[in-house]
Symmetry: C2
Subunit: 309 residues, 2 copies
């Protein structure tokens, strides 16, 4: 029996991190999770999460990413490092530096877990932001010869799917939705546990070495108009659709203050330009998860909406 790769997840308590930790532990990989201090929180939800990790046999360790020595010691215990930190730039560089010092890592999955911004036609300030945590790190990994896999999982179902992408909403609307652009750009939403499953399958797969893993299953690749139509069928009622034309979106980006301008610019890239889907996956650069792992029965976003009817 081949030894299963040992995995370290940095950023384990986030939405993606917890799914990756659980998928890893459940599939029998010795799994280490770094928790930021204070490691055991007085927050009951975090405590329950950590308790659940430990029940799965996860090795919990406190790691302050700013204490390189600690990070190197933890990295030395494993084969694969998966970063799901949500404060990308500086933390990612700290992690890369620790991986280089440790010298034993067979694969690094940096924290992207979103769009493949390398293919994005974003305007500023999104363009610079993307470069800081993606393009620059990507170049560094190649230069230093650190084996990597980028996971581009696009949107998480738990993010805005259930609100029909209406920021601030607390339930899917039954009256009216606001849509950026013409609503026909295709986007991708995936359930968090599927993202965990695909990530763990890919992390030591030779077919994903130094490539991007795109999680873009056909059934979950649809436009905002499609999402709204699906919801309308479920509730048996048509919604008022208010479209904001691209010109108006670009003006909002120019007029908004930081960090709102960044949020608008990212939304523009994804919902107006369709940057999650407007490119063919170049086989020498990337692979698509549902094609690579056809045995994974992923959840569809159409099912996902059922619970909110």
């Amino acid at each position: 029996m081949a030894e299963k790769s040992k995995v370290l997840v940095i950023g384990a308590t986030g939405l993606v991190g917890r799914s990756v930790v659980e998928a890893s532990a459940k599939s029998g990989h010795p799994t280490f999770a770094i928790v930021a201090p204070p490691s055991i929180s007085s927050d009951p939800a975090k405590t329950r999460l950590l308790e659940g990790f430990m029940r799965l046999g996860v090795f919990l360790v406190q790691g302050d990413i700013n204490v390189p020595h600690t990070l190197v010691n933890v990295i030395r215990q494993v084969d694969v490092v998966i970063s799901t930190v949500d404060t990308p730039a500086e933390d990612q560089y700290q992690i890369v530096a620790a991986i280089m010092t440790a010298g034993n890592i067979k694969r690094f999955l940096p924290s992207v877990f979103g769009s493949d911004v390398g293919c994005a036609r974003a305007v500023e300030p999104a363009r610079t932001f993307y470069a800081s945590y993606y393009t620059d790190i990507h170049r560094l990994l190649k230069e230093e010869g650190i084996p990597y896999t980028y996971v581009s999982c696009n949107f998480l179902a738990g993010w805005q799917h259930w609100t029909l992408v209406q920021p601030g909403a607390t339930a899917p609307s039954k009256d009216r939705v606001v849509i950026l652009g013409d609503g026909n750009a295709k986007v991708v939403f995936n359930r968090e546990d599927d993202i965990g499953t695909y990530t763990i399958k890919a992390m030591d797969d030779p077919r994903t070495l130094n490539k991007v893993l795109y999680i873009r299953p056909p059934a979950n690749t649809y436009s905002l108009n499609d999402i709204v139509s699906s919801w309308e069928r479920k509730i048996g009622k048509a919604l008022e659709r208010v479209y904001i034309p691209e010109e108006q979106v670009l003006k909002k980006i120019r007029d908004a203050k930081s960090p709102d301008d960044l949020v608008w610019a990212i939304s523009h890239s994804i919902f107006v330009k369709g940057d999650q889907t407007n490119f063919k996956i170049e086989p020498s650069l990337g692979v698509e998860a549902s094609e690579l792992y056809p045995d994974v029965k992923y959840s569809t976003m159409d099912e996902h909406l059922n619970q909110f009817v």
Copy 2:
């Protein structure tokens, strides 16, 4: 630089366990601590302890010793297993079974951390009790060829030293003490952190392979009469000493119900028969810690009493 042995401590939250975990982590050994479920307690003292472990970079994992699969997975991460469980017999067998399944352990330190009961002249029921967690396990380890070190650390300072071995006392008496036998049998008390330090030094030392490590530093080897005299000097006052002759102790063992009879029988072995010290260490079977590691500046029990004056 040689890789430091990786250590798993089973029973990490006990008095001995926590000292061993801390000594291991502080000396740079990758250290794993198994915590019984619920892994994160609502007990603030335990939570603080676990938080402290994580601050030292310890890998915390939940382990139910009765789930062999979990135990085997954890054991596979390390080189050395140290058991400090306080429910000796069954748990020790579960651990030995898991070590045999895992097949990678370079040294096992079973939970003794008390007297070397192999040299004891105990009466029943202590004799049978000792055999169950010591003699039988010892034989099994030899038969199966599992490399081991037994740590005989004798008494912990935090047990009864500060009460002058007066069970139930909440402070050292300034009036009267009860002493079993004639009070001249030599016993050994050691500070918990010294026990941790010696244990970690010994755990991968070739000189302790398949031997007993006796922690019996000369300054901490003294009789109950000596302890009481030391205390009298500190407080400038003589105590009334009430001696219980051996015959009367033996009668108490016969008359007491379980488990009190066991407590009396163990006390008889140690305080009347002097079973912690009444034998010379046979070099082919054991080594003494303060001789083997003269660089360790252990704390003396005489200092230990100062804080209670």
